[in-house]
């Protein structure tokens, strides 16, 4: 077979990234909210190290819930999450989070926001600001160090959120629909930057989105979630060549095929 085909696998089998060591393991996680609302039913997943895994599904499928359980922000009703073999009981320094609504401190300048994780660790000001400056430049915000969040556009604010998460040098970077609050043009640029980040930073990314195109564009692996209650319906590993012009990716037949496959699979959830 010469044309690479998107591989639709049954949940929990993993022939392609099998040799990649999982850094985050989710084992039989269930989540029931008060009032007997079942959000997640028996989710088991592995997240391969150094890759970008996307949780994709219709709204209300529990993808954000699952991400917050991995982050240690929400307790699971049953089941466990392991990060580097250690059981998650709360947030930890090996995990950083990028928020959908940026979650910046409006009273603090960009540099203080970016350095906040280091400030909490008690790292001296000059040292933490030097590190923060490096990451502010990395996300193309050089020159905005002393600005305040309300002086920045939505896209720039999310860059601040991203720089803050990079600054603490966590192994796992979790992103909860990070681009949904920015406009479409900025979003595309962000997605291209994401690919660069995954290639250059030696980090594992867990990405939540409801956009099929975005998921296929950036992901090494896509976990498709069903809803009510949420289960893993498929794991897809798009075989897309990401070398060369980022614009070309969106025109590759492989890219379009995977998008179409996922769309067919998610169609049934339309109300």
């Amino acid at each position: 077979m010469n044309t690479p085909q998107p591989t639709m696998q049954k949940a929990q089998t993993d022939p392609l990234l099998m040799d990649t060591k999982p850094i985050v393991q989710v084992k039989n996680v269930c989540k029931t909210y008060p009032g007997n609302i079942e959000a997640l039913r028996d989710i088991s997943l592995d997240f391969p190290e150094g890759k970008l895994t996307t949780l994709l599904g219709p709204s209300g499928c529990g993808k954000t819930t699952l991400l917050k359980i991995i982050a240690g922000l929400l307790p699971a009703t049953s089941g466990e999450v392991y990060v580097e073999g250690k059981k998650v009981v709360g947030p930890g320094p090996e995990r950083a989070f990028v928020f959908q609504d940026f979650a910046l401190m409006p009273w603090a300048s960009v540099i203080r926001n970016v350095a906040f994780g280091l400030e909490l660790k008690g790292i001296p000001r000059s040292e933490r600001e030097a590190i923060a400056e490096k990451y502010i430049a990395r996300v193309n915000l050089k020159g905005f160090e002393q600005k305040y969040p309300h002086e920045l556009s939505g896209g720039m604010r999310q860059r601040v959120g991203l720089a803050r998460a990079l600054t603490v040098d966590a192994k796992v970077l979790m992103m909860d629909e990070p681009f949904s609050a920015v406009d479409e043009q900025t979003r595309r640029k962000f997605q291209e930057d994401m690919l660069e980040l995954v290639a250059n930073e030696n980090k594992t990314f867990i990405f939540v989105t409801h956009s099929i195109e975005e998921a296929v564009y950036v992901s090494d692996r896509i976990v498709l979630l069903h809803r009510r209650p949420s289960r893993v319906s498929a794991i897809i590993e798009p075989k897309i060549s990401r070398t060369g012009d980022p614009e070309k990716i969106r025109r590759q037949p492989e890219y379009l095929d995977v998008v179409e496959d996922i769309w067919q699979s998610l169609k049934q959830f339309l109300d």
Binding site: P91, G92, F97, F99, M105, G117, E119, L120, V168
Partner: protein, 250 residues
């Protein structure tokens, strides 16, 4: 404001009321409400009186001390109530009760405990100011966006760090509004306290003026205190506007 096509400044209405007062003061009501002009000419006399100076000093001291205590207790307790369901359940009924209760009735109780003197005045100020400060700090913390709290946890803040580096700042617009409302109530507290104790500060002056039927003096003092309360409110409102720019972007 436009009046028959003419633009007239806002304070014009004050002139109207002043004229009305003046007319009223020259009728039989003048017995208890002297004309405004008579009160105004009495003002320099009241202000230059040595008793006024010492009363102002004592009052300012009690006012500031009381407010500092009220802020020192109100903000931390309010923030705690905003973050801890247990603390909230325990304290909220009491805070709401004291917020609406006729607190003047409690001043005699304070007098019994703290004696007739400055301490009672200070405690009265605290009693008047602290509840609204608490309630506003609580409301401020409750209105913090959930993601900001999650962010604080995610980046590993200890509980003291979370309070001092995030929650206080995030709730600052509401906290300052609470302090402003608290100070306005504290003005009431300090005057009511002094009136009831009546041997301290302006309480003594009011007592002397009323018992000697010096109504022009009495009204001068009332107007001066009103002006003070108004000025305090305006100054704080100005400070508040300066920091509320980020209230909408939290």
């Amino acid at each position: 404001m436009l009046f028959f096509g003419y633009r007239i400044p806002l304070f014009t209405s004050l002139i109207l009321w002043a004229v009305l007062w003046e007319i009223l003061g020259r009728t039989a009501a003048g017995m208890i409400l002297p004309p405004l002009s008579a009160i105004a000419t009495r003002m320099p006399e009241v202000v230059t009186n040595g008793d006024f100076g010492s009363a102002l000093w004592i009052t300012a001291k009690a006012f500031l001390t009381g407010n500092l205590i009220a802020v020192g207790i109100g903000i931390p307790v309010g923030i705690l109530m905003g973050r801890s369901v247990l603390a909230d359940r325990l304290l909220l009924p009491w805070v709401n009760l004291f917020l609406s209760a006729p607190l003047s009735a409690l001043v005699p109780v304070i007098m019994v405990v703290a004696g007739i003197g400055e301490v009672t005045i200070i405690l009265t100020v605290v009693l008047f100011a602290v509840w609204i400060i608490m309630l506003n700090a609580r409301a401020g913390v409750k209105s913090i966006t959930p993601s900001l709290i999650e962010m604080t946890k995610c980046f590993g803040a200890t509980i003291p760090q979370a309070f001092t580096k995030v929650y206080v700042w995030a709730a600052l617009p509401e906290i300052t509004a609470g302090i402003r409302l608290g100070l306005i109530r504290a003005v009431k507290g300090v005057v009511i306290g002094q009136l009831l104790v009546s041997i301290v500060g302006f309480g003594t002056l009011f007592e002397i003026y009323l018992s000697h039927f010096l109504l022009e003096h009495f009204w001068s003092l009332v107007l001066i205190l009103f002006a003070f309360a108004f000025a305090i409110n305006e100054i704080l409102a100005w400070c508040e506007r300066r920091i509320s720019y980020y209230a909408s972007s939290r």
